[in-house]
Symmetry: C4
Subunit: 250 residues, 4 copies
Amino acid sequence: MDNAAALSFRHRLYVQLDPAAWQQQGLSLTNRFICALIVASIAFAILETEPSLETEFEDVFSLLEWLLTAAFIAEYVARLWVCTENPKYEGWLGRLRYAYSPIAIVDLIALTPALLSIAGSEVFVLRLFRLVRILRLARLGPFSRAMSHIGAALRSRRYNLTLLLLIVSSVFLYLIEGNVQPNAFGSIPRAMWWSIATLTTVGYGDVFPITPMGRVVAGITAVLGIGMIALPTGILAAAFSDAIQRDKNN
Amino acid sequence: MDNAAALSFRHRLYVQLDPAAWQQQGLSLTNRFICALIVASIAFAILETEPSLETEFEDVFSLLEWLLTAAFIAEYVARLWVCTENPKYEGWLGRLRYAYSPIAIVDLIALTPALLSIAGSEVFVLRLFRLVRILRLARLGPFSRAMSHIGAALRSRRYNLTLLLLIVSSVFLYLIEGNVQPNAFGSIPRAMWWSIATLTTVGYGDVFPITPMGRVVAGITAVLGIGMIALPTGILAAAFSDAIQRDKNN
Amino acid sequence: MDNAAALSFRHRLYVQLDPAAWQQQGLSLTNRFICALIVASIAFAILETEPSLETEFEDVFSLLEWLLTAAFIAEYVARLWVCTENPKYEGWLGRLRYAYSPIAIVDLIALTPALLSIAGSEVFVLRLFRLVRILRLARLGPFSRAMSHIGAALRSRRYNLTLLLLIVSSVFLYLIEGNVQPNAFGSIPRAMWWSIATLTTVGYGDVFPITPMGRVVAGITAVLGIGMIALPTGILAAAFSDAIQRDKNN
Amino acid sequence: MDNAAALSFRHRLYVQLDPAAWQQQGLSLTNRFICALIVASIAFAILETEPSLETEFEDVFSLLEWLLTAAFIAEYVARLWVCTENPKYEGWLGRLRYAYSPIAIVDLIALTPALLSIAGSEVFVLRLFRLVRILRLARLGPFSRAMSHIGAALRSRRYNLTLLLLIVSSVFLYLIEGNVQPNAFGSIPRAMWWSIATLTTVGYGDVFPITPMGRVVAGITAVLGIGMIALPTGILAAAFSDAIQRDKNN
């Protein structure tokens, strides 16, 4: 492979990797695949906190762990290689500046748990840092198209916010009450059962925090959960109002 | 009865049975009666899962079972006889094609539990397949009129969706947790008590799933249940907004 | 007092008693006082079902009972005397027709518990028939003004509906589960604690129906309770939408 | 310092202290600091009711108590000194009239618990009177700007109302059920856990009032809590409706 071909390949890879350089609608195929890997890695990090699953599927988990880590290392190296295509990061100094950019540091931090190979569940939580990256892609992708289709944009944003709220509140209560109430908050999937009941304001009352700190987080979760009701209702109300208006004019 | 009279009768029956061939508003008298039979058969399939009712009303249940089965067989045969009136299913080949259409297969599958006469409660659930057919009629009937009266259409759709959500979530939890918690989910009517408390976000907490699978279904039910609050609120907001506007212009 | 004065007094009393004959806005002073008496009598009928209150305040209760009964008999006789002023009920035949009108019969039925002086708590529930009369007045009074001030009309209607829902659902559960769970539903005020928790979808779960019939009523109450959230939200949304619109035009 | 300088200083202090005399947007730096002190003093009064905290941080609490009291005495004296700058309170008679104004009396009453140095928790509740003052400032500050930015005004008002509802309902249940259920309502922070679960309609059911009076307050809280859902939903619906409208016109 001669130099020109390498440069041309680097440029094409850069366009695939940087959502800002992608001219077409949505995300590039490569970024979609990375998104899927990130989602899988988050789901995997959440499931790994469940003791009953971890003992049963230990082999599958460590295999998946190595595959995901390899993929993310490859991605990190590729991004470092192509970053100079971006006018902001030209030359070797630009590459260094890219390596110190918040996104690259997050990428590196997200890799540490796997590289350190420490099996403590507290370090596994670090893998949730990858959430920061999916937020970046999500922001650049669908949100730039939001201006033309307000309804669709709001709806997609609602699901993102809800999912984020669900995961973040579960992680908090897993960290705060995991040791106090192992049956209720001993893993993130278990804490999610409490979180969904609180965010939807169903509140069965089979599981609830008992520590002051846990109750503060639960209170904030419950107040934010009202947004889960307010957002779709507001969107529907506006849509119906618009439909009635159109119905009248025709 | 000569051939012409038979053909004329077949045509009139076809118009009665096919909602698409019915020129007037709403549903034909025959289809309304079939709708009522389907609703009765679903209600009956739900009640039959309740052990305390089944032992008490065993005779009434088996009599109703035979009457409903006879009616649905008659309907199936009639639909097979008149289907050739539809340009899509002309000739004997058309009739065969109709017999392999999804709707006709669903009709036949829905009949199997009664024909097989197996008393296992798992097979009784098959009778819920009839729900698929009422959805088909419901779709063709009121929904085609929806364009002119958005408010009414949305309101009727809301009740349909709510009822569907109530039945489907109850059936799921009956199947998943029926054996684990017989008092709470041992029959579909019992599971409906949980379902209504979850969908309205009341969440008394006297009954709740304890298996991971049941909790996933319950979480989805709770999130969808928010639509039960969002839909009427949005409709009311749009209607009030419209009323204020009209009040000002006059 | 000569005849002309009697007739003139009768006419003035008629204008005071019949909301339809009242030319000014709202209700006449007499009808407002009757409204207050009806509200007091309903509150009183509700409180009387609470055993702990009844034994303590027996004397106060029987005194109030006699005063209210006397007032309602006076009102009934007065309405019967003045009804001939209404063109619909002219002459002695008209008076007889008035006595057989639904409103007059309800008036009479509402008086029977006090006249029969039977102390059974089941008969006390009959006094809730008076609710029918306050609905009549409420319908004629504020609702006729509703056309000009939609917001105010909807808001007042909301409180009426909510109160009605609260009382009706409490009475139903008191009748259905009063004997099964005396601590939770042994009196209407006790049942109201359950009712308010259900209608606001809070659902603490300390009190809930356990009989199938009670659960059906509770399910209907929970579904209707969503209207308590949807109505004010819809009104607010429409009002805000209107305010934004006005803000823009100025 | 000569007299003119004193008068000029008094005038500048008056402009700093009286929100009505402040010409610029929002609140003056001095009033912002007083606001922060009031918020701190309320938070502090709430936390002090928690027995477990009081025994542990007794020294910190008494130090903070003295600092806050000194600051509020200084503020009271300053307001009394500068009030004559207001045309409404000119001369010594005006100063006397100011001292008898509701605001100044509230200021004085709010100081009594600290001055009396009585350690009974019932008297500590008096410090919540300071809430009345922050409401006054809040009313004058952001609400005057509300006309131009309805959305922002409603949103800020919503948080104020919610916080007020949270504190007031917690204080009520602390006073009513504090002795009956010390674990659940034995301090205001504990009662706030119940209050947040009720206002958001989550209703876990781990904590609920058992006395008739407590249930009446809880019922009112639950009904008012619906406003917490209705307000943001209405605001969002109006905002989305407006966004769709703008999207169409462009």
